[in-house]
């Protein structure tokens, strides 16, 4: 029998970090939001819908969602070179796939909705925080949406399933090590994004998806509240 992993920050295994959400943080943008979980902070800005350039990228059937994920050079301990990387290019695409299913872009042929996500401080789970911020920013911009997307990273540390990994947990190396599973879901529970790095069996994965479902619900409520608060403040 392996011993249960004990979290260094005292959280229960199914407990997300302290979250904070705010809408309307970038005045120039058509929609914007900040999402913070623990020490991970993401901001998102939406510009559009606007005419897609270059013209050959236009889709006459529906609008296009274009996401750009960017990390501040000083958001991590070892400075990263500013500008796009292979990693940021992949995450940008993942974000498009995660968010597009809830958007109703049929009404915006030949147009593009630009979503820019910037990571200010990183302590693991930046793509999830980015997706959470982006979903709020899209709603704030008034883009017609069927639902909201909420995202969480589930981890398996040795044999224990834990929710919302921080960097220290992500780097865990004992036993079977750390398996990182970022998952995004719509409010109604459809999975729009799933990645996995590590080692896991089917039963454990089922457990992880269940944990994600519960955590995403909590995040969904936080996103909804931030949007509501913004409308009421106005």
């Amino acid at each position: 029998m392996t011993k249960e992993y004990k979290r260094a920050d005292g959280r229960k295994n199914n407990e997300i970090r302290k979250v904070k959400a705010e809408v309307g943080v970038i005045p120039n943008a058509d929609g914007s939001a900040m999402f913070q979980t623990g020490d991970t902070i993401a901001i998102a800005a939406v510009y559009g819908p606007k005419k897609m350039h270059p013209q050959h990228s236009q889709d006459p059937e529906k609008g296009t969602l274009r996401c750009t994920y960017n990390m501040n050079s000083f958001s991590v301990s070892d400075r990263i070179k500013p500008g796009p990387s292979r990693r940021s290019t992949e995450i940008s695409k993942i974000m498009e796939w995660a968010l597009e299913p809830v958007l109703m872009l049929e009404g915006f042929p030949n147009n593009v909705v630009d979503v820019y996500v910037n990571i200010i401080q990183a302590d693991a789970g930046t793509r999830c925080a980015g997706i959470n911020a982006a979903a709020m920013a899209l709603a704030h911009a008034g883009i017609p949406m069927r639902d909201i997307v909420s995202s969480i990273s589930i981890g398996k540390l040795d044999k224990t399933i834990v929710v919302d990994l921080n960097k220290e947990e992500e780097d865990f190396e004992e036993g079977e090590g750390s398996t990182d599973i970022p998952i995004s879901m719509t409010g109604s529970g459809k999975i729009t994004h799933l990645q996995l790095d590590g080692k896991i069996n089917v039963q454990e994965l089922k457990q992880a998806v269940d944990a994600a479902r519960k955590a995403c619900k909590e995040i969904y409520e936080v996103q909804k509240k931030a949007l509501k608060d913004f409308v009421e403040e106005k």
Partner: protein, 269 residues
């Protein structure tokens, strides 16, 4: 919802007419800065970081320390590098892609403002002469552009440097121990702030809004500290009279006093 890339001509005309009567759209005096707010510790992972707000303009600036080889022509000196990203997140005017002229110029003007004032003691950044020195990276990100990113970035760079701490360095393991701080970055008492004066018609103004910046015919950025000028750059192609330049320096010197007070109380907080 296609965005407007530049201020419409009638608005620019109106700005000029207002300035002829000594007035600005937002009611400020010609030499009046917008409210300056500086917040610290935007990122715990940086050696020093700040958020600077000038009205609706916002930038974040972070200082990181890295270890590398010195340049062959200065084996007894550390290095500094300033970069700026004008994020498309911060304005519909900024596009993705390799750095274009505005972000390159911004970084270079901020770089010279800091470097030429000798505020950083580069000799104190040596770990092993000729072998290992600290490089101080100052990285600037625009969050919302409502004019005068240049000055906001310069203020942010100096503020972040002032509060930054050098991490410990393990010489044996050749590893930087991030999060374990050793000492401040050795800085001189000078407080160089780059202040940009814009000329519109016959008027000289400071801290332009986005619309005023679009209307500007010429600009002069003056890196100044307590009356001592250490860097200057004239921008845009309208020529300036000699009197304009000395008048601009006088304005910059005055503005510096107010900004320095705010910066100093921020650092001491």
């Amino acid at each position: 919802m296609d965005e407007i890339k530049t201020t419409p001509r009638p608005t620019m005309k109106r700005i000029k007419e207002y300035l002829e009567q000594g007035k600005r759209f937002d009611g400020r005096k010609l030499d009046e800065y917008r409210n300056l707010v500086i917040e610290k510790d935007v990122s715990k992972k940086a050696e020093g970081s700040v958020r600077v707000k000038l009205g609706k303009t916002e930038v974040i600036v972070g200082v990181k320390a890295g270890v590398g080889e010195p340049y062959p022509d200065s084996p007894d000196k550390g290095n500094m590098m300033v970069t700026a990203e004008l994020l498309p997140l911060s304005s519909p005017r900024f596009e993705l892609g390799p750095p274009k002229f505005p972000s390159i110029e911004l970084a270079r003007v901020v770089d010279r403002g800091i470097r030429e004032s000798k505020v950083i003691d580069f000799e104190k950044l040596v770990i092993e002469k000729g072998e290992k020195v600290w490089t101080i990276f100052i990285d600037i990100y625009s969050i919302n552009d409502d004019g005068n990113l240049l000055d906001a970035a310069g203020i942010g760079a100096l503020a972040a440097l002032r509060i930054a701490k050098l991490p410990k360095y393990d010489k044996k393991e050749e590893k930087i121990l991030y999060g374990e701080f050793d000492k401040d970055i050795s800085l001189a008492k000078t407080n160089p702030i780059a202040i940009t004066i814009h000329k519109i018609g016959d008027s000289l103004i400071v801290d332009p809004s986005r619309e005023e910046e679009d209307t500007s015919e010429a600009r002069l950025t003056i890196g100044i500290s307590d009356g001592i000028i250490s860097s200057m750059q004239k921008g845009d192609s309208t020529p300036l009279e000699e009197e304009d330049i000395f008048e601009a320096i006088k304005i910059a010197d005055n503005v510096w006093k107010g900004l320095f007070k705010k910066l100093d109380s921020f650092v001491k907080k």
